[in-house]
């Protein structure tokens, strides 16, 4: 029993890491209609940006800012110079998916000669191991959960209470109508890429902190889990992504406790497939999956 409570705690950490990433990913899809399969690679690049700053002696929690900036910049450039031109050309959804795949391939393989194939680690003080009623967490891990919670609250605040947030939601719902109402959708979209890019960057750093070591190959690993969480919650729904992340994180760790741990990822994905069968639009989506093809 103790193992399951501990697994619950571990699941919370996983969920926090996934949530930060999944919210950014799903907002990119919801507002700009782009399934950005290069997201995992941007996380990885941001993780390395923070790594080099960290190596220069900066505390990792401060270096996280470098990661966020790197993520924001790379995502913005990706959208500006690759995705938008193709979208303007009228490329359909699948074409864009394939393009983002090609971009992820290129980013990963351009990073390889630069940083090498070996893994890298942050210099981080994990802090004390705290035990409480079966939960087993270090101070740093609790800090990660807190960071995730703060960011989720910030996104909530942004979307609900600010003009920018309202403009984002309007653009997501109906871009043409939004434009007609005077919302500068192009500018909103650029800001969205900057904000979600920053989220992506923070997620990359946090993932690196969580896993002790990371490498270029980590990017692809992140992507599948993030997609699972985002789709689970309903693509385009930030709150859905948070719930999806929680579910994936908890299920993964609890199944590792209950059954053979080498299948833990498989169980999470199987949940995803199950949801897609039973409720293809995800947990929270109102539209989305059931829209007309193409």
């Amino acid at each position: 029993m103790e193992l399951y409570v501990a697994a619950l705690g571990f699941g919370l950490i996983s969920a926090s890491v996934i949530a930060i990433a999944a919210v950014g990913f799903t907002m990119q899809f919801g507002i700009t209609n782009m399934i950005n399969l290069a997201y995992g690679e941007v996380m990885m690049v941001s993780g390395y940006a923070a790594f080099y700053v960290n190596q220069a002696g900066v505390n990792i929690w401060v270096a996280m800012i470098a990661g966020a900036l790197a993520g924001a910049a790379l995502s913005y450039l990706l959208n500006r110079f690759l995705y938008t031109p193709f979208q303007r050309k009228g490329t359909n959804l699948i074409g864009m998916v394939i393009i983002s795949l090609a971009a992820s391939l290129m980013i990963a393989n351009l990073m390889l000669p630069l940083v090498g194939y070996d893994t890298s680690s942050y210099v981080i003080d994990q802090g004390q191991l705290l035990r409480w009623n079966g939960l087993v967490l270090t101070a740093a891990q609790i800090a990660i959960i807190v960071v995730a919670a703060i960011l989720m609250a910030a996104i909530h605040g942004l979307l609900t209470y600010t003009r920018l947030g309202k403009a984002m939601r309007a653009t997501a719902a109906n871009p043409t109508l939004a434009r007609n109402c005077g919302i500068p959708t192009q500018r909103v979209i650029s800001v969205v890429w900057l904000i979600t890019g920053a989220l992506c960057g923070v997620a990359g750093v946090v993932a690196g902190m969580d896993s002790e070591n990371f490498s270029v190959a980590s990017g692809a690993g992140y992507l599948i889990t993030i997609i699972a969480a985002a789709v689970l919650g309903g693509a385009g729904q930030p709150y859905g992504a948070m719930i999806g992340a929680l579910i994936i994180g908890l299920v993964t760790e609890l199944s590792a406790a209950a059954i053979a741990p080498e299948y833990k990822q498989v169980v999470a994905f199987a949940i995803l497939v199950l949801v897609m069968v039973l409720r293809p639009q995800g947990m929270l989506a109102k539209r989305g999956a059931l829209a007309a093809a193409g």
Partner: protein
Amino acid sequence: MNRFQPAVRQHLNSTRLLSVIAALVVLAACGGGTSSTGGLGSGPLLVGVLAPFSGADASFGPRYLAGCYAAALSINGAGGVGGRQVSCQQFDTRGEPADAVPAANAMISSNSNLMGVVGCTSDEASTVVPILDRSHIPMTCMTGQSEFNKTTFKYFHRLVPPDSFDAYAMIGSALFGPGHAPYKNIALVFGDDIGSQTFVGPAVAALNKLGVNIAINQAIHLGASSYRTEVQKMLLTHPDVILTETIGSAGTYLGEVKQLNGGKMIPFIGTSATIDPVWFKQVVTAIGLPDFEANYTAVDLALSLQGPGYDEFVTQLTAADSKYSGSQALTYKGKSPTVHLYDGIILDALAMVAANSSDPTVYNPKIFDIANGVPGATVVNTFKDGVAELKAGKSIRYVGAAGENNFNQWNNSQQGYNLVTMDKNGNEVVIGQLTQAQTQQIIDAGGNA
């Protein structure tokens, strides 16, 4: 597909033997003149490094290539093989069999001057070994797969232990190692990948037969971002020791062991592949040097990493590092594959000189003789010395950078195992040895194929 290839087509009768000796004497008398190269042919020679240079195991290729560079420089610095200069070329198998087949075929097709091949890891060995054997190319392979323990491929040579033997040695360390009572409760933590799983089967069989309790047999997915639940599960079985390899994820896993065990580390025993600067760095970063030194042991073939053979290797590796600036050759100074494959290539070259032939069907059997040494052979440690002794008509035994080799009838090189650890700089330090009897007891229990 396992075809016995008659390795020697010609038999040396006494007349030929005399003329060969005469030629060698003439060579010696001429002071190493290059014009009469006997049967060694002319033109450059190529060593193919057939290994993953991309994909999940992309880090393997460069370390093998570095060994080849060092060997080539050592050979060429001593005048080459009968004046023929040796060079190295990489052939990327991408770490999987379907890409390895065209890689091997392309390599053979485009290069008629292949003197040997190194690499062939477990990612691709099953497909490329038959291809290389059919083309009579002597190979020094890195694969630990058990299917090659009794192979009938005559051109296959293995200077590293099969994974099953590593597993037995680790058990030996757990049961008979110095500084602790025999461990009673053993946790096995290995990756689910091809290179890792070859340890688990033999280990489980041996432990069961010996009546030692397996606390948990855990397969983890390498490269995952965390293993906390797995670690917690393992801790709940209260093992005395963890047997592991988990290349790439060892830092993550062991770091979480220390964390979740309240800061107290559990002893852990690694395979020979863990004796590696990268593994060292990952784990030390995760658990700190004191805990590493107090709790880590590993097993290794008696790899000496000292002596004149190793010195020559380091000299040439340093030269290679500056000549081929992108290769980072010097970072592989302590890496077992680099050292072993260097020896493999030197063996190939010495075999060619000893047989005075560039025909692999003639010189391939010589590799065995030079590695094991015939009675009365002179021990040499470098290619240069080897050539000199051969010119003087002696038979030689090459004891190289990695020390002695002892091929058995299946061209697998075995000798005793050392129990080792790494010092604070990541250098290998021998702390004990398993006796022949101890090793045999475990091998018998494991029922090695």
